[in-house]
C-alpha cells in the first residue's frame, strides 16, 4: 500500500471518529424529543401532526409500529411506480423520457423503498427530472428515515423496561427527516455545487469533443439481450464519434441524500464516478465520510439512549476494526498489477487501473468500494467488476457480512445489535448465566426473532442465486464466461438481498427475470429483517432491566469487541464459503495459478 493510501485511510478514520460523537449525541436528543432543534421546530412539527391527524403522544406497540412502517413503505413503492409509469404526461421532462416498463418500474419502486437503490436502468436515459426528484430523491429520505427509526425502536427496547410500547412511528419518521436528514443534506448539497456538481432543470447539451473517440459498441440481439459469439464473449462492432451529449438535471440535491442516507442510487448511470455527481477528490472524500457518518454516529446514539456510552463505543470499535482490515485488503490488492497484463510489458507498479477514474486513482477507489459495500450504500466511483479477484472479493464479502459493519443508516446498527445478541447468547452461556445484553435477559422468543433476522438474507441470496443459475433467463444475462459469470449472479443477489444496491456490472439485469427476482430479494431482505427486529424490540421493552454485577458478562471491553467480530465473520463465512469458493476464490486461484 502506498503512503498516499495509508494517509488517506488514517485521515479518514480520524475525521470520521471526531464527527460521530456530536452527531450521535444530537440524534439521541432529537429522537427523545429534547434539545434545541426540537424546541426550534416544535411548532412546525405540531402543525404537521395536526394536518395529518397524528396524535403526537400516542405510543405504539411493536406490531402497530411495524404495520405503520410497512404501510408507509408500500405507499412509497406505489408512488415511485406511478411516477415512472406516468412521467411522459407529467412536467419536468425536457428529454421527453417515455414511461418506464412495468417490471423495471416495479423493481425501482421496491429498490428505492428498501434503501437498496439497485438500478437496473440508467438514470440519464430513463428518468424524468420529476421522477428523480419527487420519486427517487424523496424515497432516499424516507427509506433512510425508515432504517433509522427501526433501530431507534430497538434501542428503546433495550432502554425501557416493563414497557408495552416502543414509540410512535409517525413522530419518529418526522423527527429524523426534519431535524437530521434535511438540514445536513441541505448544507451538503450546497457544498457539492461549490465543487462543481450541477443543479438545474435544463435539457441535455450536445457538445463536440476535441478528440475523436473510438470504441467498441456491443451488439444487442432482437430480444434486447447482448449478442454473444460461440465462445460466450459479447459481440461488438467498432465505432467512432466526436459528439457527446451531456446530461443535465437537479443532481446535487439528490447526491447529498444519496450518500448521507446510504442509498447509493446515482442520478447518472456512472454514479459517483460521474464528474457531475462527484467532481473532485475533495468531494470524493466528503462523500466517503458522509456514507459512514450516520451509521457510525448511531452507535453512539445507542450508547447514550441506553445510558451507557461504553456500549456504543464497543460496537463502533468492532465496526471500525473490521472496516480497517477490509479497506487495507481492497487497497492492497488493487495496488498489485494484473499478472496477465504484466506479461504484455505493462508496468505492474501502477496497480490495477482498469475501470477506475483517473481523478481518484487506486487508493481512493479501493477505499470508496470498501465503504460503499460495507455501508449498504452501493454508490460506486469505479467499476467493481474490473477489480482484481481479491479486490472484487472485498465488496462481495463486505455485503455477505450482512451489511452490519457500519451498514445502512439504521439497518447496519440493528443488524449488528442482532449479532451482538447472538454473540452474547452463546458466550453468555459459557460463563454460566442466562445470557443478558444491556440488562435484558435473552430468552427463547428473543432467540427466535434473532434467528429469523440473521437467516432471512443468506437464505434469499443462496436460493435466488440457485434459481438464477438453473433458469435460462438467469443465465442469459451473464456477460462473462466461467467462474466470473457465477460471481456476477451471486453479487447481484447478495447486493439486492442485503439492500446494498451496488452492481458488479457485467450482468444484464434489466430484464423481467432479474427485475422480479431482485425485487423479491430486496423486499424480503429488508422487511424480513425489520419485522423480527421490531418484534425483538417489543419483547425487550417488556422485560425487566437487570442490574449488572461482577457475574454479568461485560459487553464494553476488548473481549466483547473480539467476540462480536468473531461472530459476524464466522456466520458470514459459514453461510457463504461454498458459494465463494465457486466464484471469486476460483477466479483468484486461476489468475495467479502460475
Amino acid at each position: 500500500m502506498s503512503n498516499h493510501a495509508w494517509l488517506l485511510l488514517g485521515l479518514y478514520l480520524v475525521i470520521l471518529l471526531a464527527l460521530v460523537r456530536p452527531v450521535g449525541s444530537y440524534m439521541a436528543d432529537v429522537m427523545e424529543g429534547r434539545g434545541f432543534a426540537v424546541r426550534l421546530g416544535g411548532r412546525f412539527e405540531s402543525l404537521l401532526y395536526r394536518l395529518s391527524g397524528i396524535r403526537q403522544d400516542e405510543e405504539m406497540s411493536w406490531l402497530k409500529y411495524a404495520l405503520a412502517i410497512l404501510f408507509f413503505n408500500v405507499l412509497g413503492v406505489i408512488a415511485v411506480y406511478a411516477l415512472q409509469r406516468l412521467q411522459i404526461w407529467l412536467p419536468l421532462n425536457p428529454q421527453a423520457m417515455a414511461a418506464v416498463t412495468p417490471d423495471s418500474s416495479f423493481n425501482t419502486g421496491i429498490s428505492f423503498a428498501t434503501n437498496t437503490n439497485w438500478q437496473g436502468y440508467s438514470g440519464e436515459s430513463t428518468m424524468s427530472y420529476l421522477t428523480q426528484m419527487l420519486g427517487l430523491a424523496v424515497q432516499n429520505f424516507f427509506s433512510a428515515a425508515t432504517g433509522i427509526v427501526v433501530v431507534i425502536a430497538l434501542i428503546r427496547g433495550f432502554a425501557r423496561h416493563t414497557a408495552k410500547t416502543i414509540g410512535n412511528a409517525w413522530v419518529d419518521l418526522t423527527r429524523i427527516t426534519l431535524y437530521v436528514l434535511l438540514p445536513i443534506s441541505f448544507v451538503y448539497a450546497i457544498f457539492l455545487v461549490s465543487q462543481g456538481a450541477i443543479q438545474n432543470f435544463d435539457a441535455y447539451k450536445d457538445v463536440t469533443t476535441i478528440e475523436v473517440t473510438k470504441y467498441d459498441n456491443p451488439k444487442n440481439g432482437p430480444d434486447g439481450q447482448p449478442l454473444k459469439d460461440e465462445k460466450g464473449n459479447p459481440v461488438t462492432e467498432p465505432a467512432e464519434t466526436q459528439m457527446q451529449t451531456l446530461p443535465m438535471g437537479p443532481v446535487a440535491s439528490q447526491e447529498a441524500i444519496k450518500m448521507l442516507g446510504t442509498n447509493g442510487g446515482g442520478f447518472f448511470n456512472a454514479n459517483s464516478a460521474h464528474p457531475y455527481e462527484n467532481p473532485t477528490p475533495l468531494s470524493n472524500f466528503v462523500q466517503m465520510l458522509s456514507i459512514f457518518l450516520i451509521p457510525g454516529a448511531l452507535c453512539l446514539t445507542f450508547g447514550k439512549m441506553v445510558g451507557d456510552r461504553r456500549q456504543g463505543w464497543a460496537v463502533l470499535a468492532a465496526m471500525t476494526l473490521m472496516f480497517a482490515v477490509m479497506a487495507f485488503t481492497a487497497m492492497h490488492y488493487e495496488a498489485q498489477g494484473n499478472p496477465v497484463l504484466s506479461q504484455f510489458g505493462i508496468d505492474p507498479s501502477a496497480g490495477n487501473m482498469e475501470g477506475k477514474e483517473t481523478r481518484f486513482g487506486i487508493a481512493d477507489s479501493g477505499l470508496f468500494a470498501t465503504i460503499t459495500t460495507l455501508a449498504s450504500c452501493g454508490a460506486v466511483n469505479g467499476m467493481h467488476d474490473s477489480f482484481m479477484p481479491m479486490g472484487g472479493f472485498v465488496p462481495l464479502w463486505n455485503m455477505m457480512l450482512g451489511e452490519v459493519v457500519f451498514g445502512g443508516v439504521g439497518s447496519g446498527l440493528y443488524g449488528m445489535l442482532v449479532f451482538a445478541v447472538m454473540a452474547v447468547f452463546i458466550a453468555g452461556l459459557m460463563i454460566g448465566r442466562t445470557p443478558e445484553y444491556i440488562g435484558k435477559k435473552i430468552e427463547a422468543y428473543d432467540m427466535k426473532m434473532v434467528s429469523i433476522a440473521i437467516l432471512v438474507t443468506p437464505i434469499l441470496v443462496l436460493a435466488l442465486t440457485a434459481v438464477a443459475v438453473m433458469s435460462a433467463d438467469g443465465i442469459a444475462g451473464v456477460a462473462n464466461p466461467g467462474a466470473h459469470g457465477f460471481s456476477e449472479i451471486l453479487y447481484a443477489f447478495t447486493s439486492a438481498a442485503n439492500n446494498n444496491g451496488s452492481a458488479f456490472a457485467g450482468l444484464s439485469a434489466n430484464t423481467p427475470f432479474y427485475n422480479v427476482m431482485t425485487a423479491i430479494g430486496m423486499w424480503f431482505g429488508r422487511f424480513g429483517v425489520i419485522v423480527p427486529v421490531l418484534a425483538l424490540a417489543g419483547a425487550l421493552a417488556a422485560k425487566k432491566r437487570i442490574t449488572a454485577s461482577a457475574g454479568t458478562m461485560p459487553t464494553h471491553g476488548p473481549l466483547f469487541v473480539v467476540l462480536l467480530i468473531g461472530t459476524v465473520v464466522l456466520v458470514g463465512a459459514l453461510n457463504y464459503v461454498p458459494a465463494l469458493a465457486l466464484g471469486p476464490v476460483i477466479e483468484h486461484l486461476t489468475l495467479f495459478a502460475h
Partner: protein, 688 residues
Amino acid sequence: MSHKTLAMFDPVLVKPAIVDSFKKLNPVVQWRNPVMFVVFVGSILTTALWVQALAGQGEAPAGFILAVALWLWFTVLFANFAEALAEGRSKAQAASLRSLKKETWAKKLKGPHATAEWITVPATELRKGDLVLVHANETIPADGEVIEGVASVDESAITGESAPVIRESGGDFSAVTGGTRVLSDWIVVRVTVNPGETFVDRMIAMVESAKRQKTPNEIALTILLVALTIVFLVVTVTLLPYSMFSVDVAKAGTPVTITTLIALLVCLIPTTIAGLLSAIGVAGMSRMMQANVIATSGRAVEAAGDVDVLLLDKTGTITLGNRQASGFLPADGVREADLASAAQLASLADETPEGRSIMVLAKQKFNLRERDIQSLEAQFIHFSAQTRMSGVDVHGKQIRKGAADAIRKHVEDLGGSMPMSVLGIVEDVARRGSTPLVVSEGTKVLGVVELKDIVKGGIKERFAELRRMGIRTIMITGDNRLTAAAIAAEAGVDDFLAEATPEAKLALIRQHQSEGRLVAMTGDGTNDAPALAQADVAVAMNTGTQAAKEAGNMVDLDSNPTKLIEVVETGKQMLMTRGSLTTFSIANDVAKYFAIIPAAFVTTYPQLEALNIMHLASPASAILSAVIFNALIIMFLIPLALKGVRYRPLGAAVLLRKNLLVYGLGGLVAPFIGIKIIDLLIAGVGLA
C-alpha cells in the same frame, strides 16, 4: 438414597444404554431433536443411495457411499447413546428411591390421640388428614406432621445421614417423611399428602421426567441450533445447482454427488451440541441429586445459575448454631476467678453447648476443675421459659445465670439491685455482637459471661468466592443492628438485615427483585414460607416444616444451609457446558469446510486443491474423515457432557476469556488435527 456413585462407563450402565441407543432410532423419538432428525434422514438417504449403487446405478463407488452411510448411522447412535447413558444414571437413582416405597402397613387411628383405637391399613390407602400411630422400629407410612409424641427417626434413606434426628410435635421439627423409620419412642402423625404425591413420588417423577421438560434456556438454544440447521440445509441444497452451473461453464468434471452434500450437511449442522444437549440436562439434574438436593423443576436449577443475591440465615449458616463463652467480665469489686467459679457451678448441670462452653472456659482460664455433682449435694434449677434462667442452690447459696433482664428481676425480687456498671458491661458485650449472660449469687450480681457467636471456619473465604462470582450475600438475623453489624463484618457478608421479621424479609426480597436481581434464600420455619415463595430460588431444609418445603422450589435433604452455594454452581455448570459445546460445535465447521469443499468440487476446478491445506489423501478420504471425526467427537465429549464444564469463581470476564480460548479456539484447531489423523489412518489402511 444410595450414595454409591457409578463410574462413568460402568458396564451396568453401558449395556442397557447400548440397547436403548438402538431403541431410540424410532422416528418419533428422533423428531424430538430436530438437528439429529436431519442426520437420521441423511442416514436413510445415503443407505438408499448405497442400495442404488449396488444395483449398478450409483453416483459414486458403492463402498464409499456405504462408508458414509455407516458413519452417519453411528453419529445418530452415538447421540442416542449419550442420552441413554445419562438417563440410565438417573434411572439408577430413581430405582434406589423407589425401593423406599416398599409395601408398608399403617396403624390408622380413629381419634386424634395416641390412646385412640387403631386399625391396620396398607400405606397406599392413606389420605390427607388421616392420623397414624408409629412405634419404634416401624416405617413412617407417608409424609406428614407429628401432632403428638417425640421420637428419634432414622432418615438416612433420604438424607444419607446416619445419625438419627428428633421429631416432635409443634415447632420446626414436626415434619416427617414417608419411608423413614422410627428408632425409639412413638409419634402420632397427621398425613399431609395423598398417595402418589408423597415426597419420594415427587423425587422419582422429577428424576424420570428430567428428559421430557426442556428448561427455558434449553429451548432458546434449541431454536438457535434449528436456525443454524436450516441455513446449512439451504447452503448445501443450493450447492447442487451451483455445481451444475460450474460444470457447465468450466466444461469439466461432474456435479457434486448427493452423498457428498449429505456428508457436508451433517458435518456443518451442530450435531455435537445437539447430540449431547439432553444428556447435559439429565446429567445436571443427576448432579443435584448427588448433592442431595431435590429440585421441583429443571427451571429452578437453571435459575440458580443466575442468582445475584443470596439471603442466608445467620444461625446455623454463617455462625455455628451455638454461642460459646469467650470471657468473664466481673462487676466492680468482684474477682474474675470468683465470677468464673460461680458461673461454672451454675452450669454444672447445663448440658447445652453454651453451658458446656462456660465449663471449658473456666477450666482453661482458672484451672477450675469440674466438681463432682453428687458430692456437692446441690440442687439444680433447670432453664425454664418462664424464669429464663438456670442455676444451682448449693450450701444455701442461690447461684443463677440468665439474660440481663431475667437476672435483674430475680435479684430485685430478692431485695437486691442491678449495679450500673454491670448494665454498662451488658451493653458493651451486645455491641460486640455477643450475648451477655449475667451471673448472680443471692442478691449480688457477680458479673457477665460473654457468649460469642462463632463464625464458621472457611465461611469468609466462601463469601469472597461468591463475591467474585458476582453474588451478594445478605445475612438475616433476629439480632439487633449492633450485634448484626459486628457479626456481618467478621463473616465478611456484603450486607445484613437485623431484627428480621417475616415481613421485613419479604420486603427485602421484593426490593431486590424490583431492582432486577434474582434472589435465592434458604429457610426451614413456617414463618419463612412467604419469603421462600417470593424468592426466585428457594431451598427448604428437609428438617423444616411442610409449609416451608411446599413454598420452596428445592429441598435440601442434608439440611445444610451452605448447600445453596453448591446449587448455584451446579446451575452455572449446566449453562456453561451447553455454551461451551455450542461454541466448540460451531467453530468445528471451519475445518470441515477446508476438508470437504476442495474434495467436492475438485473435479470441476482442480485449482481448489490449493484449499486442501490439510493435504488429505484423496477426495473420498477427505469427506469420510470429516464425517468420522464428526461422529467420534460426540463419543469423546460424553464424559464432559455428563460431568459438566468445571466452574471456577473467577468473575465473568476472566471466565469468558478462558472458555473462549479453550472451546472457541480449541474448537477451531482440534478438527484440523483430528481429521488429518483419521485421514492418515484411512489412507494407511488403504480404504480410500
